[in-house]
């Protein structure tokens, strides 16, 4: 049971992290003109942050403790 609980807590934390990353005011920091490797900053940020969140979910989901 404790394994499920600690995993659950990690996932809830990831959800919170996502809510912060994809929300005002963090989002506003990237709502600027300019490009990263040719891609507009906001677009680049959204996709990179999204991919990073998924990577963290892989780690939490596949970790056996």
């Amino acid at each position: 049971m404790s394994e499920f609980q600690s995993k659950g807590q990690r996932f809830v934390a990831l959800c919170m992290l996502g809510l912060v990353l994809f929300n005002y005011p963090i989002l506003a920091l990237f709502n600027v003109s300019g490009t990263v490797l040719g891609v507009p900053v906001l677009y680049a940020y959204l996709f990179v942050a999204w991919a990073a969140l998924i990577a963290l979910m892989v780690i939490v989901a596949e970790t056996v403790d």
Binding site: M1, F4, K7, G8, F11, V12, L14, C15, G18, L19, F22, N23, Y24, L27, A28, N31, V32, S33, T35, L37, G38, V39, P40, V41, L42, Y43, L46, F47, W50, A51, L53, I54, M57, V58, A61, E62
Partner: protein
């Protein structure tokens, strides 16, 4: 080349392939070799979330406000992070209670209420209609555009031709036939549609590949990669503004947040998502892969949305081409027929996947939670007496599928043109979000009541109707537009799009704020005001405490009454047929060590509950309740009795938990005590050994001193030479005694940690040279050749100089003692390696036997030949030496083979400790 016939042929070939996959998967399932028992298939089937909305609509949305399409996929990612907590619980509840649909889940949670189940079904069907119409619109539009090839003409300008109307209707009818063939071939006890799931998973692959193909084509075929595409778009001021879209838009962030929340709800509570995620789930463990695979799928299918949107806007700058069609029109404009056809098939995949699963889910709801309860209550039909109800159930479901698709078509005709694809879909999202309070509240809060859920759902749904559905109809001209602009009867405060004067938000955000406020308010408020019935109380704790229950039998505690086995058997046989009923009963009997039908079963609470749960798997909890009640006589439990049973159970659980914990603590304490006792015994034994050894060692020299002094005392006439010899022995023995006592004291100090260590930088070369000089006399006396191989310079080690001399003296005197008596030879070597100094003392004596290699370092171990000679030394020297070396972080050991001498070595780490 792209004739209508060719397109139709390809479409049918594709649908045929799907059907073949489904058929194959069903056959495999029947043979017991399920193809869908894989986390990858489960994840792909979840991707039924990506519909024609995603395939065509995302680009349309992106072309109007940049990133506005993204919350629809980021929201689900966030929700999926919570799946481990939320969905796992829903899965467990659904498996234990044989939940067949979303409506069944809610009805079951609130006391198996048929009324609530019916309400949820109606909300779901009406709420989803716009969404189904979206799929019909997307398929018929893409077909209409594709047949115009090589021209690119929008359907709206083709006009209301009879042919075009027919397209959507045809699509609806073909999909209805297809869904019936897929989902209602037979009545499954577990309500699993393995064939359907396999086909959906395949469709998810097709739509992803098709979309990626267009994306790659636009980004790298038409343009030179992302940089080139975005650079050209940035040159157009209007497109440049879309790259920082959140600026300056009133409520820009609020809309973004509400869209995120809305899609978080949608991923859980869309009937088709509930169907694939919960009902069709075959193994709870698949969740841990799906939790990241499905978000990854969504990420992949969204990467090229913005490039395609900008590509389309650059290619068709005059706005004559609807942005919702860019995915299709871009390949057409570039004269890539095959790619365009692939896109059409991809869109078809996305749309058919959604329609099939959604209508199966809705038809199950309509059958189990709307039609069956009504029919069962309608006593004139005498349904209770009919022999076989399987056909009736399947018939109702098939009918429901056709009706739902026709309703979807009607909505498309009524209101389909006024909105873009995404806006149509969002109306449905807002409808299913109304289920969130009742479900999430229901699984985490025991206090939620049936009336609370009824009022909450009704209030939320009413607001949805008023602020989203009616405006959609008004915009399409079915209601006077003044209804929107001046409000009903000219009451400004009630304008559907600015309810109570709340303005400045987009339509969806506005509707969500009011409907959620009403919904949650009514749910919580009424729940707190009205008391629960016994049934509700029981179901509430079965749901909320699902992880504390054990097995399906837990529901049986709450039943009291009388029943007969044949009645129960016949009930099952009427729904599933005699063969199925037999195997179900055999399973029940087998679990109790009995055989069916040879042994007599007892129609107790457990059997009644078992039958009810089995039945619920086919016709829903509320109907199953009614059916079982019709063949048994039950005594209703009062709420107090239910509470008592629950309290009793929970007290027992708490009590046994406490007991377990206590006994675990006791065990741990006992183990600790036992270990401590063992340790004490061992120490006691060691102490005894030590004392007896020390006293023995002390007695030996004392005895000889006493013997010689007595001789000298008794006999004064001893010759002077003899006297001298005796006195010499006495002195020597006294010296030995002193040395022994010193060593024992020394050892006691070291072992108790009270020794005074004077640490300084010690040059081992010097230590060796000094010791050799001190021992020179001894070696000469015994005629031993000494050879020292010392390097020119060695780094210093941190140690106690006197102690190091003590160690060296001990080793060298041992070497001298045990050396070959005639041609003795001792070699001393000092080397530096791996950050440590190493000293070797090699003699050519008789060596040490391998089994003694460790023993000689223990206390009072003497290598003397115990039979002939007396021991030479105290037996503490090596032990103390090793303690000293280890104190300074080094180690000491011996290498030897009998006959070749012994090599004593020790190391010391270089530099400061």
């Amino acid at each position: 080349m792209l004739h209508g016939t060719a397109i139709i042929f390809t479409s049918f070939a594709y649908l045929g392939l799907l059907f073949a996959i489904a058929y194959f998967a069903d056959k495999r399932a029947d043979a017991g070799r399920s193809v869908i028992a894989s986390p990858y298939i489960y994840s792909l089937s979840l991707a039924v979330y990506a519909t024609a909305w995603t395939f065509y609509g995302s680009v349309g949305r992106a072309a109007s406000d940049g990133i506005g399409f993204l919350p629809i996929y980021i929201g689900p990612t966030l929700m999926i992070a919570l799946w481990w907590v939320v969905l796992r619980k829903i899965l467990r509840i659904s498996k234990q209670n044989r939940i067949t649909s979303l409506a069944d889940f809610i009805a079951s949670r609130y006391g198996k209420s048929a009324l609530l189940g019916g309400l949820v079904t109606i909300i779901a069907i009406i709420g989803i209609l716009p969404y189904i119409s979206l799929q019909l619109k997307a398929v018929s539009n893409s077909f209409t555009i594709l047949v115009q090839y090589p021209e690119i003409i929008m359907p709206i300008t083709v006009g209301e031709t009879p042919a075009r109307e027919d397209t959507a209707l045809w699509v609806a009818m073909i999909l209805a036939a297809f869904t019936i063939a897929f989902g209602t071939r037979h009545l499954d006890v577990a309500e699993h549609h393995q064939g359907m799931v396999a086909a959906i998973a395949f469709e998810s692959l097709v739509k992803l590949l098709a979309f990626l193909a267009v994306g790659v084509f636009v980004t790298f075929g038409i343009y030179n990669g992302f940089g080139d595409l975005f650079a050209r778009a940035a040159a157009v001021p209007k497109l440049r503004a879309m790259m920082t879209p959140l600026e300056g838009v009133a409520g820009g962030y609020a809309n973004w947040v509400w869209l995120t929340i809305l899609s978080m709800m949608a991923i859980m509570f869309l009937p088709r998502q509930f169907q694939v995620a919960v009902i069709e789930n075959v193994n709870e463990k698949h969740l841990s892969k799906a939790i990241w695979l499905f978000p990854l799928y969504m990420l992949a299918i969204n990467v090229f949305v913005l490039p395609i949107a900008f590509g389309g806007l650059l290619r068709f700058p005059d706005g004559t081409v609807d942005a919702d069609t860019f995915v299709l029109t871009l390949p057409m404009a570039e004269k890539h027929e095959l790619l365009a056809l692939l896109v059409f098939i991809g869109g078809l995949s996305a749309a058919t996947g959604m329609v099939i699963v959604e209508t199966i889910a809705l038809s199950t709801m309509a059958c189990n939670d709307l039609v069956m309860p009504l029919l069962l209550r309608w006593s004139r039909l005498r349904l209770n007496e009919r022999r076989d109800l399987t056909g009736l159930l399947l018939g109702i479901r098939r009918g429901a599928i056709v009706v739902i698709l026709l309703l979807g078509y009607s909505y498309f005709k009524l209101a389909g043109e006024a909105y873009a694809l995404v806006s149509i879909g969002l109306i449905s999202f807002a409808a299913v979000a109304q289920f969130a309070p009742a479900i999430l509240g229901g699984i985490f809060w025991k206090g939620g009541t049936r009336l609370g859920a009824l009022w909450g759902l009704s209030a939320g749904f009413a607001v949805w109707l008023y602020t989203l559905l009616l405006p959609a109809l008004a915009r399409s001209g079915w209601l006077p537009i003044s209804f929107l602009e001046q409000g009903p009867f000219g009451i400004e405060l009630l304008r559907p799009l600015q309810l109570f004067g709340l303005a400045g938000l987009d339509q969806i955000t506005h509707a969500m704020i009011w409907s959620m406020l009403m919904n949650i308010g009514a749910y919580v408020g009424v729940s707190l005001l009205v008391a629960q019935s016994a049934d509700e109380h029981r179901q509430a704790s079965l749901f909320v405490d699902v992880f504390k229950q054990t097995g399906e039998a837990s529901g049986a505690r709450f039943w009291r009454g009388t029943a007969s086995v044949p009645d129960l058997y016949n009930l099952l046989a009427r729904f599933f047929g005699a063969a199925s009923a037999d195997s179900t009963f055999a399973e029940y009997a087998g679990a109790r060590g009995l055989r069916w039908p040879e042994d007599a079963l007892i129609a107790d609470a457990e059997l009644v509950h078992y039958v009810e749960v089995q039945l619920a798997g086919a016709i829903g909890a509320a109907s199953a309740r009614v059916m079982v009640a019709s063949v048994v006589t039950e005594e209703a439990l009062t709420i107090d009795e239910v509470r008592e049973i629950l309290d009793e159970a929970s007290q027992v659980v708490v009590y046994s938990h406490r007991l377990e914990q206590k006994s675990r603590e006791l065990e741990a304490a006992t183990a600790e005590l036992r270990a401590a006792n063992e340790r004490l015994k061992e120490l006691d034994r060691l102490k005894d050994d030590f004392v007896s050894t020390v006293t023995h060692e002390l007695r030996t020299p004392l005895t000889s001193i006493r013997a010689f002094t007595e001789i000298l005392l008794d006999d004064p006439d001893v010759e002077p030479a003899q006297r001298r010899k005796f006195l010499g022995i006495i002195t020597k023995e006294a010296e030995r005694l002193t040395r022994l006592i010193n060593e024992v004291l020394d050892l006691a100090k070291i072992e108790s940690g009270k020794a005074d260590w004077v640490e300084s930088g010690v040059d081992m070369k010097e230590v060796i040279a000094d010791t050799l000089a001190a021992m020179d006399q001894v070696f000469n006396e015994k005629n031993i050749k000494v050879e020292a191989r010392l390097p020119d310079r060695v780094p210093t080690v941190t140690a106690d100089l006197d102690r190091m001399i003590q160690v060296m003296l001990n080793l060298l005197s041992n070497a001298a003692k045990f050396c070959d008596s005639t041609s003795g030879r001792v070699e001393i070597e000092l080397t530096e390696r791996d950050g440590a100094l190493r000293v070797d003392v090699h003699d050519n004596g008789r060596g040490v036997r391998p089994e003694e290699h460790e023993a000689i370092f223990s206390k009072f171990h003497q290598v003397g030949d115990t039979l002939t000679g007396k021991p030479q030394g105290s037996g503490l020297g090596l032990h103390i030496s090793r303690q000293i070396v280890e104190h300074f972080g080094g180690r000491m050991w011996v290498e030897s083979h009998p006959g070749t001498g012994a090599r004593f070595s020790f190391t010391l780490p270089v530099g400061a400790r």
